[in-house]
């Protein structure tokens, strides 16, 4: 990848983020929050997209974004009112910008007149503004975007930047005269992190009078110790102006206050030339070394009024004092109590900007995989500890316990790196709903809840397709036309609610609509027609609802652009199953449909219970286990089909004997076996009978399909501490196997 491509990739990443933000801001604006903050955020985002696009030569995008920006600027200035129509146009424009970005990313060319219509409307809206005004704006833009910052200082003196030559700096003489100030300026790394630029400050200073700027490079470390984002350079500026006041000088540094060590000293008329350097030295030197003195002196500059500070720091009255002696004096007037607020200041600054870095996902995944292996090794080590070893090597036991704890912490941290708010998927949906509403002529409002719920990135990526299909389904089949809705006494505007919530070890994603609900008669008749269901078979409402997930199933009267081809809902089911989740649908005729996706928090590591079924190890995900009961204490009953049911707390639960279901020889003594009560989804329970319960551990999920094929009732495999393979029981799959069998 060339450097330019890398920059481009970064730009597109940023664009995605900005577009997400835009979507969010517009949603808020649409709901009535027309605050200047939001408008400014929108403006900034569009501006950033435009700026980058200009740099990479995406001229179509630049053109459109510029027109959009002009409109926004008018709105911001109050020249155009942010009416409903304008908001609508902006949202449409936002979609177009997204399309431009996508096209640019994929190296596609959009039709020449793409977005031209909207552009015309922008112009029409902005018309009435005089041309000069617009031109002025253009100029302004160009100034912001394209004019490089030139290193020119005002006044007749040319800027004097010393060569990075420490020796020369030490010996350099300079004249000190009346009305002369020395400004010591030592930026903290935070200043650069906040995109502060000393040059701009020096330019500002130069506007006050003649300046002489010298860089103090002595604290520069050797290259090996050099931190690229560290701050090493300090500057000393002498400013000559008969009128300037200290307050005026300090004002220049107002915005970087707290991010630098600043000293402002007025020079006495007849100081020996060497003195100013010396005078500055204590503060500067201390600052360089980051000693307490530095923090105290900066604390001082925060607390003590400038005039006082000058007196204290001014070496003139205390001329005979050596710089070192002056330093303690500096420290003294700053009591501990007063120091506290000063110390708080920088941390406040830190809190405002969340620091983040972009990391290649591959790198994170590598760490995740290694941590996964580490977890396995750790549990293997723990398994190796038998009672004799435990008694003999207590230190080892303690060490292993700490190791287990640390590993767990490490794992949680790594997982949290991969976790992302579902917002990134949810925010794609408003546009989808808008488009669907446009195509179907229905009125649909999308509500989203719990966008900040975090979930593993891989799962998020797999979520986009199923959610799209589900929302399409809701819009096309669920929500009725406005006429039908008002006839049914409902609000003309249908609501699709998209929510995310964490429930135990699972994430629940719910797509709900207040439409007509599933037409069960129709679903059943189509299912019979297609042979999905036998003609004489009786199904419960719930079973009929689940039929919509059958492959090739569609009840739409006509194949539309949106849905009806029969692919879709089965994609939802297969995608969700692939990532270890489940889908549940509930529908009330005339009231609406609710589809619930239950997803695991993470894909990489699973907390499981290790059980034995006819001498073979199996693992059951802990997240689905409700409780375990000894068979001898369980309350079983028989049903006519010959199966067993378990009565637990007044509830009858279907019993599945794993040995029987998996066609394994049943050797164990029936009384010593165990019942593992599991929950398949929100409501249904199933009781699994196993021969023995071995324990609880964490495993890394491995795919069976990678080298083999899917096996019904098995969710995957894992490698145990002893190197053997254990299969992961697919509780949900076992349950649907039952439905399948009765259906067949």
């Amino acid at each position: 990848m060339s450097e330019l491509d890398e920059f481009k990739a970064t730009y597109f990443d940023e664009c995605s983020e900005l577009l997400l933000e835009l979507e969010e801001q517009f949603a808020a604006i649409q709901s009535g929050e027309r605050t200047p903050d939001r408008l400014n955020a929108v403006f900034r985002a569009i501006h950033s997209i435009k700026g980058g696009a200009g740099a990479f030569g995406f001229s179509a995008l630049v053109g459109f974004a510029h027109a959009f920006e002009t409109l926004l600027d008018h709105v911001r200035d109050g020249r155009i009112e942010m009416s409903v129509e304008v908001t609508g146009l902006c949202i449409r424009a936002n979609d177009i910008v997204a399309d431009f970005v996508t096209a640019a990313r994929n190296n596609e060319t959009l039709p020449e007149h793409f977005g031209a219509e909207e552009k015309l409307r922008f112009d029409a809206l902005c018309a009435g503004e005089n041309v000069a005004d617009l031109e002025g704006e253009l100029m302004e833009e160009f100034d912001l975007d394209f004019t490089p910052v030139r290193v020119v200082l005002k006044g007749d003196t040319e800027p004097v930047y010393e060569e990075p030559d420490a020796d020369r700096f030490e010996t350099l003489p300079f004249q000190a005269m009346a009305g002369h100030w020395t400004v010591g300026f030592k930026p903290h790394p935070a200043l650069y992190a906040r995109a502060g630029d000393p040059l701009l400050l020096f330019r500002e200073l130069a506007s006050l009078g003649d300046t002489h700027v010298r860089a103090m490079l002595s604290p520069m470390p050797v290259l090996a110790e050099f931190d690229a984002i560290g701050s090493y350079c300090a500057w000393e500026i002498t400013l000559s102006s008969p009128t300037v006041t200290e307050a005026a000088i300090r004002e220049v540094f107002e915005f970087v206050e707290g991010d630098c060590d600043l000293t402002v000293t007025e020079l006495a008329t007849t100081q020996p030339t060497a003195l100013p350097t010396e005078a500055l030295a204590p503060a500067a030197r201390a600052a360089d070394h980051g000693t307490t003195l530095a923090s105290q002196s900066s604390a001082l500059s925060d607390l003590v009024p400038p005039a006082e500070l000058t007196q204290k720091i001014d070496p003139a009255p205390a001329l005979p004092k050596s710089p070192v002696a002056a330093a303690p004096e500096l420290a003294r007037p700053s009591p501990v109590t007063e120091q506290t607020p000063a110390e708080d200041k920088p941390s406040e600054h830190k809190a405002t900007g969340v620091q983040s870095i972009r990391v290649d996902l591959d790198k994170v995944d590598r760490v995740v995989n290694m941590v996964g292996e580490l977890v396995i090794t750790q549990s293997m080590l723990t398994q190796q500890m038998d009672e004799t070893l435990r008694a003999k090597y207590q230190e080892l036991v303690r060490g292993l316990e700490v190791l287990a704890q640390t590993t767990r912490g490490l794992q949680d941290s790594v997982m949290s790196i991969r976790a992302q708010p579902v917002k990134s998927v949810f925010s794609r949906m408003p546009r989808l709903v808008r488009e669907l509403a446009g195509k179907t002529g229905k009125k649909i409002r999308l509500e989203t809840v719990g966008e900040n719920t975090e979930i593993d990135k891989t799962i998020i990526e797999q979520l986009s397709d199923p959610l799209t299909h589900m929302i399409r389904n809701s819009a096309d089949h669920g929500i009725e036309s406005p006429a039908k809705r008002s006839a049914a006494g409902k609000n003309e505007t249908g609501v699709i609610r998209l929510s995310a919530d964490q429930a135990g070890g699972n994430i629940l994603i719910v797509v709900e609509d207040d439409g007509a609900g599933i037409n069960r008669e129709r679903v059943l008749s189509v299912a019979r027609e297609r042979g999905v269901v036998a003609p004489d078979q009786q199904l419960t409402d719930e079973q009929i609802d689940q039929l919509i997930f059958a492959p090739g199933f569609s009840t739409a009267d006509a194949v539309s652009d949106i849905s009806g081809r029969g692919v879709g809902m089965d994609v939802v089911l297969s995608n969700i199953k692939k990532i270890g989740g489940s889908v549940h649908v509930r529908s009330i005729t005339g009231r609406g449909t609710r589809m619930t996706l239950r997803l695991p928090l993470t894909l990489a590591v699973l907390d499981v219970m290790l059980v034995k079924v006819s001498a073979t190890p199996y693992v059951i995900p802990l997240s689905s286990i409700v409780e375990t009961i000894q068979c001898s204490r369980a309350d079983f009953g028989r049903v006519p089909s010959g199966g067993k049911v378990l009565r637990v707390r007044g509830e009858y639960v279907e019993v599945i004997d794993l040995a029987e279901r998996f066609a394994l020889p049943n050797e164990a003594d029936t009384t010593n076996r165990f019942v593992v009560l599991c929950e398949t989804d929100g409501s249904t329970k199933v009781a699994l009978i196993v021969d023995d319960i071995i324990g609880q551990q964490q495993v890394v999920i491995k795919s069976l399909e990678e080298n083999f094929e899917r096996i019904e009732g098995i969710a995957g495999a894992t490698i145990l501490g002893d190197g053997h393979v254990a299969l992961i029981v697919d509780v949900q799959g076992l349950k649907s196997m039952v439905t399948h069998r009765t259906a067949a």
Binding site: F708, G723, V725
Partner: protein
């Protein structure tokens, strides 16, 4: 690491040693030659092309898979990857092998997938000419389905295994 590592190691070494011997033969045979790993099931010798073989390891048990065909012995852990093991004897319809530590799993790549086949022993590395491959006589469907050809080597008959057929093409309720 599971037991049997040492054994696996020596077997690998053996395989390498044989490979070196036959390299010379391969050069003599030239472009038209084919190198086979020969293994036995009972008295019969079979072969697969050496380039498909990834690893040869001693039988150390496999985790059985529920509701699978009888010739699927289960899955093993190959350095963190789950690899299915097929019982070649059972695949030929001669009943399941009762494996011991002396039985061998030959791990091969078939397309994108890695699979293991359980055989009695790995016997040799053969270099044969492609011209010597005979067609499988029409007769038994099992033979024509599972073998791609027959080669005579040192007056022994060696059946060339069609890996795809062994692994994938099987009727599911066999």
């Amino acid at each position: 690491m599971p037991p049997g590592v040492a054994e696996e190691g020596t077997r690998n070494m053996d395989a390498l040693a044989i490979r070196e011997d036959s390299l010379g033969a391969g050069l003599v045979a030239g472009q038209n030659s084919l190198q086979l790993i020969a293994f036995s099931i009972g008295e019969q010798t079979y072969g697969v092309e050496i380039t498909t073989v990834r690893e040869i390891r001693a039988w150390n048990g496999a985790t059985p898979l529920p509701n699978s065909r009888d010739y699927v012995r289960g899955v093993i852990n190959l350095r963190g990857t789950i690899v299915p093991v097929f019982d070649l004897r059972a695949r030929f319809g001669e009943g399941r092998t009762s494996p011991t530590k002396n039985h061998v799993v030959v791990v091969m790549s078939v397309g994108e997938k890695w699979v293991g086949i359980l055989v009695d022993a790995v016997s040799d590395i053969l270099t044969v000419s492609r011209d010597d491959i005979h067609a499988v006589p029409d007769g038994n469907a099992v033979d024509t389905e599972l073998l791609t050809g027959i080669i005579t080597h040192d007056s022994r008959m060696v059946g060339l295994i069609d890996l795809h057929a062994v692994v994938l093409g099987a009727p599911t309720d066999a």
